[in-house]
């Protein structure tokens, strides 16, 4: 089964060493994710910037019920639905991003804990490809 990304230009790969693709402003160096052509801070033009694959957990919650589909493409059958974690991950002194977490047990999640980027399977598309998205998992 081939692995395909949920969206082009979102992360590198897909492989075992992924990086999220953001953009940095040429004028003020504001980094945003995903990439935008113009800086929402100063209006300057931007260039692609790979984000840090490791960070710390700013905050988190659990998604304990299936999101509405569409737009959600994962399994929404209440019997099969696996709750997932969602969090904001601090990647630098000035940037945090929203991400799925591989862990959804509150006992295993804590503010400031180190986390690292991984790709996770989301669904299988009509051509039989495994569609993958990004998530952060607890890191040592």
């Amino acid at each position: 089964m081939a692995r395909v990304p949920i969206a082009e230009g979102l992360f590198t790969g897909p492989d075992d060493d992924p990086r999220l693709i953001g953009s940095a402003c040429g004028a003020c160096d504001l980094v945003v994710f995903p990439a935008q052509t113009h800086c929402p801070g100063c209006g300057g033009t931007t260039a692609e910037r790979l984000l840090e694959p490791r960070g710390s957990l700013y905050t988190w919650t659990t998604q304990s019920f299936p999101p509405v589909a569409p737009p959600y493409v994962g399994d929404t059958d209440p019997a099969a639905f696996e709750p997932f974690g969602v969090g904001w991950v601090q990647l630098s002194d000035t940037l945090m991003i929203e991400s799925r977490l591989t862990v959804s047990d509150p006992e295993q999640l804590d503010f400031g804990m180190p986390v690292e980027l991984v790709l996770v399977p989301l669904t299988v598309d009509d051509d039989g490809n495994e569609v993958v998205s990004f998530a952060f998992r607890p890191a040592s």
Binding site: W60, T61, V86
Partner: protein, 381 residues
Amino acid sequence: MDDVAIIGVGLHPFGRFPGKSAVEMGADAIRLALADAGVEWRDIQVAFGGSYEVDNPDSVVTYLGPTGIPFTNVYNGCATGASSLDMAAKMVSFGAYDLALAVGMDKHPARAFSADSVEYALPAWYGETGHFLTTKYFGMKINRYLHDHDISQETLARVGAKNFRNGSLNPNAFRRQPLTEEQILESRVLNYPLRQFMFCAPDEGAAAVVLCRADQAHRYTSTPVHLRSTVVRTRQLGAFEVHGTWATLPVVDGPTVQASRAAFELAGIGPDEVDVIQLQDTEAGAEVIHMAETGFCAHGEQEQLVAEGATEIGGRLPVNTDGGLMANGEPVGASGLRQIHELTQQLRGRAGERQVPGGPKVGFAQLYGAPGTSGVTIVSL
């Protein structure tokens, strides 16, 4: 701003009304507001109508009579009611019209809001991967907030029990069954630490407000309620808001802080002068956070204030006296005008079983919602 008065309010009950359209509810709310003000529909010179589900709230004139007035339709997320009121009030304040109306109406399906994330300037993958949910944002915000300010989950349950208790005293509320703190804490987790009975629900309803020039208010009523300020604000770079893929650090104050500060300054009134408060309680945690973001307490003081009953109807900071969103649900177009209806009844001393004692003279209302918009209104006798 001291030149606009509320002379009439009307509310169609919030809840579920099979077979009745949102526009019909809007017409009922307008008729009640007109009767309250003692004016006729043909006297209204300008109107603003808020809704999410109804494309053209101005179609309500089919039931009331098409009179040719400028009638502008408004949608501004959860701040729609405050936005409609703000524009109607400014039309009067600018001197363009003497009598204005703001109405809100909605009829939502019984499930979490859903839309195309691309229409919110968010990538398609944001929705496809299960991020495009407002509830999980509230879970993440309150989770960090409880941690930062040493507030317990029991406080969330106390806020919920208080709002359902207030709702049980409100004949127009959607959920009128009181729930105990234990029942709330035993309901299932939806977005940790938030549980099922800590959330409001989308529902149906309508509300309307009639405004006039303050110097003409005595023609209509002996108890005009003065609109002291109406302010709408959106998020600034660095705010941590509903729906987003990234944010800058450090986190800066959100739109509720900005709107509240501006509204108090414009009104020349301080938080310590307010007698009755309506806050956006999309869930119990939002009420806790908004108590501090609006300026009624310091961050962290909510634990003690809620425990000692300060936010109860008889407390020194009565919050969501009509049950708030938790007991009334959120017909988005109408929700903010429901707050104004409640404040007006409280200031007139007509709030019945849920009347704040001691003759409240100043009221405050706040809305907040996606994608980071707040509306604040201050009224006084």
